[in-house]
């Protein structure tokens, strides 16, 4: 890709403050950044590192509750920090465009996609409405959206997430900007969908020689997209280097620690012989009221002290299976057995002892903990409810639980959830599940909202607890790296069916069921050429969703699914 050497964006000693607790605190502490025309810069770091804030600042925009307090931002010779608001606004959408993390939330639900697409070019009088519509259709075609002629005339809720994300990239292109800010554009997507969005973004940025700032917390993704990578930590730059050099030879310890995260390993256990499984799901069909079947003949076993990972894209029925096991959603057909004995289908008919056996940990610790209730009460309530503990016995049990999750009891006993970090909240969620003294815990995407380092800590904790307390886990996730790290057995689900299941080692060695294969090959790897190679293998029109729709039920490998 030919690169002209003109500097497009130059940020010097940028300082941004955020307003919290009645005072301004520094969130960006003097970051420098230089971007040439046609160059892609990857910004990487944990949440709270200030990546998105810098991205917005590159557009001369300070989010509500933040202010640019120092430094300079020079875009193509224009100083944005001193420019008038109307001058800055005139750049946005026309010369600098933005692609947001969640396209589903960032498209206005009240307007058709194409009307939102043409808004900027029509407003800047670059094109007439009809011309802009034709151009939109052309961009939809280039981004390989299905039915490019027609898709723009739908409303956002009528289009899938991956397609919306591509439509948003098309929208960013509508005025052929010099610079696009991609703010975690694929974080909310499934791996199979992520690929097509990544491929589409990379193509279009290449075709128009657009410069881009690509913000993400996923190293493997940024490795595919960026020419240079800048690592941020708590509003400060850690280091910056060309992609290849950064991947091969990171200099700073923090960067190395980011690279090392994927190293968590745990010995794989095998099923004990001649024992009844702890939980056994037998031929379960389930549906939400008056809807179509969400689960279709789902069967699998979980043995004592083992971890079964349930993987699949969103909408494949993973969480519904959890709801059936816990009794929140009584199945239409089939049973859930506990040590060979059937569990009543509805949780209301289960005894306290049956309820106690099976606990849940949720994805969003933020919403799963009542913000107005003290930690001691959150953990204490199940201990009281299931075991009738009171007074000093209850307090010592809560202390014991806090010790188990590696939080110092005296420090956390009287605190409230909003005072804790994301990882600490998730630990409280774990302690609450443990308080019932269960034998089986369902972990529903427990690490997907967390940064990698924090997530790793949670996984280590879960492993340790499993060893000490002989717990069985059903681990719902869409992240195959997590599966590799912690699972004993794997269940792959698609469209409410189990397409493949077996011990982890078997699942990660070929031959796979084609869907498993698609999932596995879609997980980004650190190799910067991974995406290119994969696209060559699959053919450029056969990525992601398109590939999954190509799996035919009559396929020989589908027939031969092993159990």
């Amino acid at each position: 890709m030919p690169k002209s050497k003109d500097v497009l964006l130059e940020i010097r000693d940028l300082q941004i403050q955020g307003y919290s607790d009645e005072q301004w605190v520094d969130i960006i502490k003097g970051v420098d950044l230089t971007l040439h025309r046609g160059e892609v810069l990857g910004l990487i770091g944990e949440s709270g590192a200030g990546k998105s804030t810098i991205g917005a600042a590159a557009m001369g925009y300070a989010r509500d509750g933040t202010r640019i307090s120092g430094g300079s931002i020079e875009f193509d010779g224009m100083e944005l920090t001193t420019a008038s608001e109307s001058d800055r606004r005139a750049l946005r959408g026309s010369r600098i465009a933005y692609v947001a993390q969640s396209a589903a939330a960032s498209f206005n639900p009240a307007h058709k996609l194409i009307d939102q697409h043409t808004e900027a070019p029509v407003q800047y009088r670059l094109k007439k409405r009809m011309e802009a519509q034709e151009d939109a259709i052309e961009l939809y075609r280039r981004l390989r959206l299905p039915n490019p002629e027609e898709i723009g005339f739908r409303y956002p809720h009528q289009v899938s997430g991956g397609q919306l994300q591509r439509a948003m990239t098309a929208m960013a292109m509508s005025c052929r900007p010099d610079l696009i800010i991609f703010d975690e554009p694929t974080t909310a997507l499934d791996v199979t969908t992520q690929i097509e969005v990544l491929a589409a973004i990379r193509d279009i940025v290449d075709q128009f020689n657009t410069a881009a700032i690509y913000i993400t917390h996923d190293l493997a993704v940024v490795a595919q997209m960026a020419d240079t990578i800048k690592v941020l930590l708590k509003g400060e730059e850690v280091e910056e280097a060309p992609t290849k050099e950064m991947l091969d030879n990171p200099k700073e310890d923090y960067t190395k620690s980011l690279w090392a995260v994927r190293s968590l390993k745990r010995e794989q256990k095998v099923r004990p012989k001649d024992t009844t499984p702890l939980i056994s799901v037998r031929n379960v069909d389930a549906a939400y009221s008056s809807g179509a079947k969400v689960l279709d003949d789902v069967s699998f076993d979980v043995y004592e002290g083992m971890t079964v990972a349930v993987v699949g894209e969103s909408g494949s029925g993973k969480s519904t299976t959890a709801r059936v096991i816990t009794g929140l959603l009584p199945p239409m057909k089939g049973d859930v057995l506990f040590k060979g004995e059937p569990f009543p289908p509805d949780y209301r008919n289960r005894t306290k002892d049956q309820l106690r056996q099976c606990q849940m940990i949720y994805q969003m610790a933020d919403t799963a903990l009542n913000p107005k209730v003290q930690i001691s009460e959150i953990i204490g309530r199940p201990a009281q409810f299931y075991h009738g503990l009171k007074g000093a016995a209850l307090k010592s049990r809560v202390d014991e639980l806090l010790d188990l999750i590696e939080l110092e009891p005296s420090k956390y006993y009287n605190r409230y959830p909003p005072e804790l970090s994301g990882g600490q909240k998730q630990r409280i969620g774990i302690a609450r599940a443990l308080a019932a003294d269960p034998t089986f815990i369902i972990c529903d995407e427990v690490t997907s909202a967390l940064d990698q380092l924090v997530a790793e800590g949670i996984l280590r904790l879960l492993n340790r607890l499993q060893k000490e307390l002989n717990l069985a886990y059903m681990f719902i996730t869409h992240d195959l790296a997590t599966v590799r790290a912690i699972a004993d057995e794997v269940v792959v689900m698609q469209h409410g069916k189990v397409v493949e299941q077996g011990p982890k080692t078997d699942m990660f060695t070929p031959p796979h069921h084609p869907y498993t294969d698609l999932l596995l090959s879609s997980v980004p790897e650190m190799d910067p050429d991974w995406l290119t190679t994969l696209l060559e293998e699959r053919g450029v029109d056969n990525v992601g969703e398109a590939a999954s729709s190509n799996i035919k039920p009559g396929d020989a490998k589908v027939q031969g699914t092993q159990l």
């Binding site: 917005a56 557009m59 925009y61 989010r63 509500d64 606004r89 005139a90 750049l91 946005r92 959408g93 026309s94 465009a97 933005y98 947001a100 993390q101 969640s102 939330a105 960032s106 498209f107 206005n108 639900p109 009240a110 307007h111 808004e119 900027a120 407003q123 800047y124 739908r154 409303y155 809720h157 009528q158 929208m171």
Partner: protein
Amino acid sequence: MGDILGLVGKRLGIGLFILLVISVIIFFMVELLPGDIAQAVLGQGATEENLAALRKEMGLDKPAIIRYLEWLGGAVTLDFGNSIVTGERVTTLIGQRFMNTLFLAAYAAVIAVPLAIVLGVLVALLRYTVFDRVANVATLTSISSPEFFLGYILILYFSVNWGMFPAIASLSQDMTLPELLHRTFLPALTLVLVVTAHMMRMTRAAIINLLASPYIEMARLKGTPPWKVIVKHALPNAWAPIINVVALNLAYLITGVVLVEVVFVYPGIGQALVDSVSKRDFPVVQACCLIFAATFILLNLAADVGAILTNPRLRHPK
């Protein structure tokens, strides 16, 4: 569209059911009132025979259930019986007055609703500025002053001091529309002052509530000017709460106008209700209450339908 018709049909069914329940409550509440109606009509000097004869004539000797069913049957065909004070048919007695009230409410609504929404959008756009504060204080003052007070203040200035509008809004059959509008301007203005604040503040709150949405930030980052962000991106998604509060206020315009009608001596249904309560004219009371209830239910139904129709997810199903 089939889904929407189904939803509307369901809401309509629920509305009719609620109306039925309310009719039961109205009928038996009146029944519970102390005192003998026949006695009230004939006065203290009536003989036992006369009372019995009147009770028979009015059907008061029949069991309450039967009388309720008869009354309900009549109400369905808009026949609420005869007034026991004047002997006139209730329908003719309150029909014209109800039309007058509807006219006044419509007059006020035509001014208040657009005014409130435009003001609401303006204060949302200029939020935390002097304009926002002044608009807030002004509308809050007008909503917190009692209607009769507002009415008298308006009369003092507009009719007594400046002589622009009549102080008394009495109507006659042969008035032309401009005359009518001129004569009823002050009561309509009083009502406008009372309901605008509520609707304006809800419009402002509904819009500001949406300003933190990612799609609003997206619109800003596309370089959309602030007024367009509000009007084109926030307002279309804020209709549901706005429509609801508009419906509540319209209902208030019809059922809550008693004080205004008294101040301006306007021949509306509110006055009819007050008169009939003081005269124990129970068929009129029942009819008025049922009309008020029906108005509330109908307007809330309209608000539900409006909220459904402004929701793109329901209008354009997958």
